[in-house]
C-alpha cells in the first residue's frame, strides 16, 4: 500500500502531519508533504489510514 495525496484538494488543515508525523510534513504554506512515498509497512498503513480518515478535504488515500 502507498499514500496518494491530492494537492488540488489539500487546503492545509494539518490533520495528517499532526496525526502521522512520520509520514507527513508541512510545506512553508502549511500544505501536506508526503515523507514516505514507497510501500508502507503494517504500522505505517495504520498511521496513513488514520491521517486519511481525518482529512476534512478527502485529499489522502491509501491505495494498492
Amino acid at each position: 500500500m502507498k499514500i496518494k495525496l491530492d494537492l488540488e484538494k489539500c487546503q492545509g488543515h494539518g490533520r495528517c502531519y499532526s496525526l502521522a508525523p512520520e509520514l507527513f510534513d508541512s510545506d512553508d504554506l502549511g500544505n501536506a508533504v508526503v515523507l514516505v512515498t514507497g510501500e508502507l509497512d503494517a504500522d505505517q498503513i495504520v498511521q496513513a489510514t488514520l491521517a486519511a480518515n481525518n482529512c476534512p478535504e478527502y485529499a489522502i488515500e491509501v491505495v494498492a
Binding site: Q11, G14, L29, C55, P56, Y58
Partner: protein
C-alpha cells in the same frame, strides 16, 4: 438601535440565528431541520437560506462560482450597493473570491504555517500560566472572562507586534466592527474612526521602525511587484483581530464548559494528557464556534431551492459537524474519536488561516488549566451565558475549583 424582533415560530420557514431559542441550544433545532427541511429559509435579513446537512454545507463552501464571500457576516438587510465588491472585498482573503483570493491568502499563509506558529508555544504557555496564577486563590473563577478571552488577544498582539496591554481595546474593536456591519455607510465610517486611527498609528510606527513581526511583513510584502495598498494591509490586520479573538475565545470556553459538565472526560484528560489533542478536535467538532455567510451571486436553483441574487446563505459548519449521515454518534462527544473530518475551520479555499494558531492556543490553554485545576464544576448554571450571532461560545462561565495541584 436594535429593533425588537418577533420570536421564531418555525425555524424551517422563519429562521433566525439570533433568536433566543437558537442561542440557548441550537442543536435540537438543527436535528429537527435535518429531518424535515434540510435547507431552511427566512425572509429576515432580506432573505436567507440555511443548509444543515454536511453535504450541502460542503457543496456550497466549495462552489465559488455560484456563491460569493463578498460579505461573510449577515447584516440587517441585503448588502446592496455599499458592500465592497468581489473579488477583493473589505478584508482579504476572507471577503475575496477567486482569483484574487489565492493571491491574498498565499501572502499570509507562511506566517501561519505550523513551523512559524509552533515557535509561539512557550509564549502561549507562559500567558496561560500567568492568567492561572492571577486566579490562584479564588474558589470561583470565570473561565470565559478571566481566562479564555485573554489568550487569543495576547497571541494576536504578539504576532502583529502590538502592545499586550491593548487587549481591551482590541476586544472593543471586534464589537465596533461586527456591530458596524449593520450600520448605514456614513455611520459605519464614523464608528470605525477609533479603529482606523489606532491601526494607522501602528502602521506609521512600524514604517519608522520595521522589525520581524507580521505588521512589518505586510508593509514589506508585494503582490506582483507592487507593495500592498494601505486599505489591504489595514483590512488584513483588522481581519486577524476580528477572526482570531472571539472564535478562539469561544473554542477554549466551550472546551472548559464541556469538561466542567462531564467529570469523566475531565478525569481521563488529567490521567492521560496525550488525549488532549484528539479531545480538542472533538470539541471543535461538537461545539464548532463559527458560522460563515455567503451571498448568492445570481439567481439559480440549488437542490430545488429558488435562490435569488444577494440572498444570504448561512453556512453552518456547526450543523455540518453534527450531521448523523456524516458522523457516527454525531450528538455524542467522544474525546478519542478516531475518524473526525470536522469542518470547524471551514471547507475548501477559505480554510481557516489561523487554524494552527487556534489549535496551539487551545492545546496550551487546556493543558495548563487542567494541570492547575484537575477538578472543577459549573458554579452556577444560570450564570453561564452564550454569545449571540455567528460566533458561538460561552461569554460568562462561572467555574468552581474543586481541586488544585
Amino acid at each position: 438601535m436594535t429593533m425588537e424582533k418577533l420570536p421564531v415560530a418555525d425555524f424551517a420557514t422563519d429562521f433566525d440565528h439570533t433568536d433566543p431559542q437558537w442561542v440557548a441550544d441550537p442543536y435540537p433545532i438543527m436535528e429537527d431541520l435535518r429531518e424535515r427541511c434540510p435547507i431552511a429559509h427566512s425572509n429576515r435579513y432580506g432573505g436567507m437560506w440555511v443548509p444543515v446537512l454536511h453535504e450541502d454545507v460542503s457543496a456550497i463552501a466549495n462552489d465559488t462560482e455560484h456563491f460569493t464571500s463578498r460579505t461573510v457576516v449577515v447584516g440587517s438587510g441585503r448588502p446592496g450597493e455599499d458592500a465592497p465588491p468581489a473579488p477583493i472585498g473589505v478584508a482579504p482573503p476572507i471577503s475575496s473570491d477567486p482569483p484574487f483570493h489565492a493571491i491574498a491568502r498565499r501572502l499570509m499563509l507562511p506566517a501561519f504555517a505550523p513551523k512559524k506558529i509552533n515557535a509561539l508555544e512557550s509564549f502561549s504557555r507562559e500567558l496561560c500560566r500567568r492568567l492561572i496564577a492571577e486566579m490562584a486563590d479564588r474558589e470561583v473563577i470565570d473561565a470565559a472572562v478571566d481566562y479564555a478571552q485573554h489568550i487569543p488577544v495576547g497571541l494576536i498582539a504578539k504576532m502583529l507586534g502590538l502592545p499586550q496591554e491593548d487587549g481591551d481595546l482590541f476586544r472593543s474593536f471586534v464589537h465596533i466592527i461586527l456591530e458596524g456591519v449593520d450600520l448605514p455607510q456614513e455611520q459605519r465610517i464614523e464608528a470605525f474612526q477609533p479603529v482606523e486611527a489606532y491601526f494607522i498609528r501602528v502602521l506609521e510606527e512600524h514604517q519608522a521602525n520595521p522589525n520581524d513581526d507580521l505588521t512589518s511583513f505586510l508593509l514589506e510584502a508585494e503582490i506582483m511587484g507592487n507593495k500592498l495598498e494601505d486599505a489591504h494591509i489595514f483590512g488584513s490586520m483588522i481581519l486577524l483581530v476580528v477572526a482570531g479573538i472571539d472564535t478562539t475565545w469561544s473554542a477554549i470556553g466551550s472546551s472548559i464548559w464541556h469538561l466542567a459538565k462531564n467529570p469523566e472526560d475531565l478525569a481521563r484528560l488529567v490521567e492521560d494528557p496525550s488525549l488532549i489533542a484528539s479531545a480538542i478536535e472533538e470539541f471543535l467538532r461538537a461545539y464548532a464556534p463559527v458560522t460563515m455567510a455567503r451571498l448568492v451571486k445570481e439567481d439559480f436553483e440549488f437542490k430545488g431551492c429558488p435562490m435569488k441574487q444577494d440572498d444570504w446563505i448561512l453556512l453552518g459548519f456547526p450543523a455540518a459537524n453534527r450531521d448523523p449521515k456524516f458522523f457516527d454518534r454525531a450528538d455524542e462527544v467522544i474525546i478519542d474519536r478516531e475518524q473526525n473530518r470536522h469542518a470547524a475551520f471551514g471547507l475548501g479555499i477559505h480554510r481557516c488561516l489561523g487554524s494552527n494558531l487556534a489549535r496551539l492556543e487551545m492545546q496550551t490553554a487546556l493543558e495548563e488549566f487542567i494541570a492547575a485545576f484537575p477538578k472543577f464544576e459549573i458554579a452556577d448554571d444560570d450564570g453561564v451565558t452564550f454569545s449571540q450571532g455567528q460566533v458561538r461560545g460561552p461569554r460568562t462561565l462561572p467555574i468552581r475549583i474543586l481541586e488544585r495541584s
